[in-house]
């Protein structure tokens, strides 16, 4: 058990992340508001560098009362990271793929001490 220094907390903006590495173990630490979340940057699909991908909200399709489609919209509370290799998306709070709850990222605990962000490995 050990820990890796990630960055100073105020260096990571909202919806931003940093990837730190310990050998082949790569971990992305992301900030959402005042919370931090850490996920292994190893996409369960093909091993891609998921935490170096684009942060983007979950997309939904807008239906009216008659179930007619009125196009797309973003879901404000669901922030995703998209693996840059093939686009697999994962919820940044839960690490879970929106289309399959069994497809998920491996998480790590994050600790903020004296304004510094650490991830425990």
């Amino acid at each position: 058990m050990g820990e890796l220094f990630v960055a100073k907390a105020d260096e990571i903006g909202d919806r931003e992340g940093r990837v730190v590495a310990d050998g082949d173990l790569e971990i992305g630490v992301f900030r959402l508001g005042d919370e931090f979340f850490a996920w292994e940057s190893d996409c369960p699909h093909m091993g891609g560098p998921v935490c170096q991908g684009k942060v983007i909200n979950r997309v939904t399709e807008v239906l009216d009362a008659q179930k007619r489609s009125h196009g797309f919209d973003y879901v404000e509370e669901d922030v995703h990271i998209a693996c840059p290799w093939h686009g697999f998306e994962f919820n940044l709070r839960t690490g879970i793929h929106p289309g399959d709850p069994n497809t998920r990222l491996r998480g790590f605990p994050v600790e903020v001490r004296d304004g510094d962000v650490y991830v425990r490995i």
Binding site: G47, G48, P49, G53, A82, P84, G87
Partner: protein, 406 residues
């Protein structure tokens, strides 16, 4: 081996160096010791539109060559091409940056950009050979000006053979056959057959020319006589009556990239072309493999009832399919039992060949083959490299020869 490129671990965007982008592929290669596995990538598309102005200088018609300057604000970029918006939707609105092509800057030391990008991919994925094909020509079979297919294909083939392939023996090419003009296709074979780096010849499948038409028999005979591979490389067509009803790229891509090869393979088998050209190595590229189980069963089912409509056949359609070749990408693998059954249905051990399709949005790494639990090591090595060596007559480096399949 890879050079001493230093990773940044930063956000990946359109301009990220492919060594950063594929660093985890290199990790996979190291963990699986791919430097001791002979691997051939049958299909990659590292080229981008930056090569196009140089290619235009290889057009042989002087008027058309000059006219290229009328495009791209005088730069010749995109000249004469009939690309449709579909290919530009590959990046899922920015989620998969490389899906729109590799835009990374490279040092200009005179080496063709195509070679620089191919070398990076070869090193990171642990490949021994890579067969390249240009994005720009994938649409060309549907060009509204038929003669433009011949002008552009000949220019591209010349550029590859004269400028690109001599740079690195690990980079090979299947040359574009201007299939809408059978005599021009024959001339392409006569002109480029045996040139260094030419691995075979290829038809882009997005076109409306039935492969059994009599005017192609001389071409097939030439390729069979020369022991060449004839590839059919799939592509999208979002304008067909059926595909035009599909409102999302996911739907169009899932169907259209199979549909064209489904039609061509059906015509190829039912019209008895395997009986007419039994030694011609025919390869179906980039339609994935899930469709093969469907079409094999479907054709067998109907053939037993309507044998009189396929009188040249001497065995079941599926048996002819077991003699043809298939690239694996994009390998559908959400249902492992179906995948295993499909591979068994077409004799994958000897008939399937790994392809990456890098840098397109649905590329596959060699690990997708190596990690399949139902394949033994011989089958994995065959699919990753030895099947390709056999039908493309590739030299296998000395270090692999002891392990080469019988």
């Amino acid at each position: 081996m890879v050079d001493d490129f230093k990773r940044t671990y930063g956000p990946i965007d359109d301009w990220t160096d492919s060594r950063e982008l594929l660093a985890r592929a290199r990790q996979q290669a190291d963990k699986r010791n791919f430097d001791d596995v002979f691997i051939v990538d049958i299909d990659s598309h590292v080229s981008d539109d930056r090569n196009w102005p140089e290619i235009m200088d290889y057009i042989e018609d002087p008027v058309i060559r000059d006219a290229a300057s009328a495009f791209g604000d005088g730069s010749k970029r995109g000249a004469f091409l009939n690309s449709t918006p579909g290919l530009q939707w590959q990046n899922v609105w920015g989620r998969i940056p490389h899906g729109q092509g590799l835009k990374e800057p490279i040092e200009d030391d005179g080496t063709p950009r195509e070679i620089v990008l191919a070398r990076k991919c070869i090193d990171e994925m642990g490949l021994d050979y890579q067969i390249v094909f240009p994005n720009a020509l994938l649409f060309l079979g549907m060009h509204p000006v038929p003669e433009m297919e011949v002008h552009l294909a000949t220019a591209y083939n010349r550029w590859l053979v004269e400028r690109v392939l001599p740079e690195d023996p690990r980079v090979r090419a299947m040359l574009y056959l201007p299939f809408n003009n059978p005599s021009a296709a024959e001339e392409t074979v006569r002109r480029f057959l045996g040139k260094p780096g030419v691995a075979g010849f290829l038809v882009t499948s997005s076109r409306h020319k039935p492969v059994h038409a009599n005017e192609y028999m001389r071409l097939y005979a030439m390729l069979e006589e020369a022991d060449q591979v004839l590839g059919f490389h799939t592509h999208l067509n979002w304008q067909d009556e059926y595909t035009s009803q599909l409102n999302r790229f996911i739907s169009m891509h899932a169907i259209s990239f199979v549909l064209c090869n489904l039609v061509h393979l059906t015509n190829w088998v039912i019209n008895g072309l395997p009986e007419r050209f039994p030694k011609l190595n025919v390869m179906w590229i980039e339609s994935g493999i899930a469709w093969l189980g469907f079409v094999a069963q479907r054709l067998d089912h109907e053939y037993m009832m309507r044998t009189s409509e396929a009188p040249l056949l001497k065995k079941l359609p599926s048996e002819y399919m077991r003699d043809m070749f298939y690239t694996t990408q994009p390998m559908e693998r959400s249902n492992e039992a179906l995948l295993a059954a499909t591979m068994d249905a077409v004799n994958a051990d000897t008939q399937m060949l790994y392809a990456s399709d890098w840098p397109h949005w649905d590329f596959d790494l060699p690990s997708v083959i190596w990690d399949l639990p139902f394949l033994d090591e011989t089958a994995r090595r065959n699919i990753l490299g030895y099947n390709a060596a056999r039908i493309f007559n590739l030299d296998i480096p000395e270090k692999y020869r002891a392990l080469a399949a019988e």
